[in-house]
Amino acid sequence: MCLAIPAQILDLDPATDSATVSLGGVRKSVSVALVEDVAVGDYVLVHVGYALNRISPQEAERTLALIREAGALDAEAAPGA
C-alpha cells in the first residue's frame, strides 16, 4: 500500500533542502523541499524520499503504533512466516 512513515528530523541542510531523519531508529536523508517551516526535532511523514507533512509528536506516536500493529500482522501473514 502507499504508506508514509513518521520520522523525526535530526539535522537540516537548507542548502540542499534536505534533512537527516530517524526512521525507526535508522538515519536516512530525505528531501524537505515540499514542507514548510520544519525544524530539528519536528516529526514528518516520509514517502519515497520526501517529507510530505509535518505532524505532531502525538500523531507520530499514534501512527507508529498503528504501523507496528499492522506490521506484526503482515509479518504473520507473509509466506513462510
Binding site: 504508506l3 535508522v26 498503528l66 500493529e69
Partner: protein, 433 residues
Amino acid sequence: MSSMTDFGGKLDIALTRHRDRVWVAIRSSRPVTAAGVFADKTVLAATAQLPTLYSVCATAQAQAGALACEAAMGLAASAGAQRRRQWLLAAETAKEHFWRLLLDWPAALDLGADAASMALVMRAYRSLRGALTAEGDPFRPGTDDRPGSLEAGQASAQAENASAALAALASGRIFGMDARRWLERTDSAAGLMAWSGVTNTGAAVLVRTLLKRGLAGLGRNGIGVLPALSAEALSVPLSAADAAAFVAAPCWPPTADGPALETTPFARCRKQPLVAELTTRYGNGLLPRLAALLVELAEVATTLANSGPIPGWLETSAGAASAAETDSGRTAVGADAGVGPISDASSDMSSGLSAGVGVVQAARGLLVHRVAIEEAQVRSWRILAPTEWNFHPRGVVAAGLAALDPEDPALRLQATLYCIAVDPCVDFTLSVS
C-alpha cells in the same frame, strides 16, 4: 517485516538479458494484508485510523473504506458530505498527477525535478484538505449534514481559494494556458505536438523529449485493461479462502493463471480522443501514458477552477455511495449501481454479520475495500490496490520491460522510466544483468 523502515514495502525488479530478449522478475514486499489491523476495532475507530495508515492516497482510501462500511451497515452519507468527498478525491488525484509530472517523469528523463512547484501544490492541497475537514470528517460512515456548515455544501473561502490555487498551478506550471483551453487545443496528436512545440513548461518538455529520443512507444505490449467490474463481482475473490493471494497478485477472471490486467490513468482514458489517437501510433507506450496524465489533470483542474461536476471517471465510483444494497435480496439503485458499494451476497443477516465493498478510482487506478461488520465491529478488512494489478509478475510492467531492447545501452534508464510511467507508488529497486 524486519523493521519500521521496511514496513512500506518495496518492489524488486530484476531484468536479465538473455539472447535477444529481456527476462523480467518482479517481487513485492508490499504489506498487502496490513488492513487486517482493523479487525476487532469499531467501525468508527477503523475508519478514523485508515487515512493515518494509508496517508499517501488517504482520501481515496478513506472514500473506499467509508463506502464499504456504509454498504455493509445500510448507511448513506449526506449529499454535502459526498460532495466534500468527491472534491477531495479530485484534488488528491490532481496532487498525485502533479507529483508524476513535476518530480518523477522529469527525474527519470534526467531533466531535473521541479520541487518548487510541487511544494506549492502540496501547500494548496493541505489547505483544501484542512478547509474541507475542519467541521467534521466527511468520511465518517453515514455522516449527515449540519445546516450552515460545510457539510451542507457551503464551501469556505479557504476551500475555494485552495481549489483555485491548484487549478492555477496546473495552468501555469503544466499547461502554460488555461486547462480547459489546453483540452480544446490538444484533442488530437497534431494538437499535442503543436502545443509542446511552443510551450516552455516542464510537461511540454517531457512530450518533446519522448518524441525526440524515440521513446514515445517505449514498452508497448499486449496487456489488456481491467474491464469495469461490479462491486458484487469483486467481492467474490475478496471474500474467498484465498483472498490474501488474490490481493497480492490479482488476475481477472480471478483464477490462478488468469490474465493480469492493467488499471491506470491510461486504462481509464484510453478512449479519450487524444489518448486514443496516440494509442493507435504508440500502443500503450510512454507517450499515451503521459498524455493520459495530462488529460486527467486538465479535467480535474477545470473542475477545481469552476467548482463544476467532477470528471465522469471519478464520479462513477464515488457518486454511487448511496446505491447500496442492504442485503443480497435487495436491488441496488442509482445510475452506477454496478460499480458502487454493495452488501456482500454472503452476508448472514441472522447473525448480524454483513459485508460491503467500496470501489474508488484512485489516482493510480482501481482501489477496492471489502469489510465484514458485526454489531458495528469490524470482523475483516481487505484492500485491493492498483499496484498489485500493474506490478503483477505477469502484468503490464513485466510485459513492458520484457519488450525493451536488451542490446540498448540505455536499458536501465528505459526500464526505470517505464516503471515510473506506470507508477509503483513505493520504492523499487531495479537490477540488470
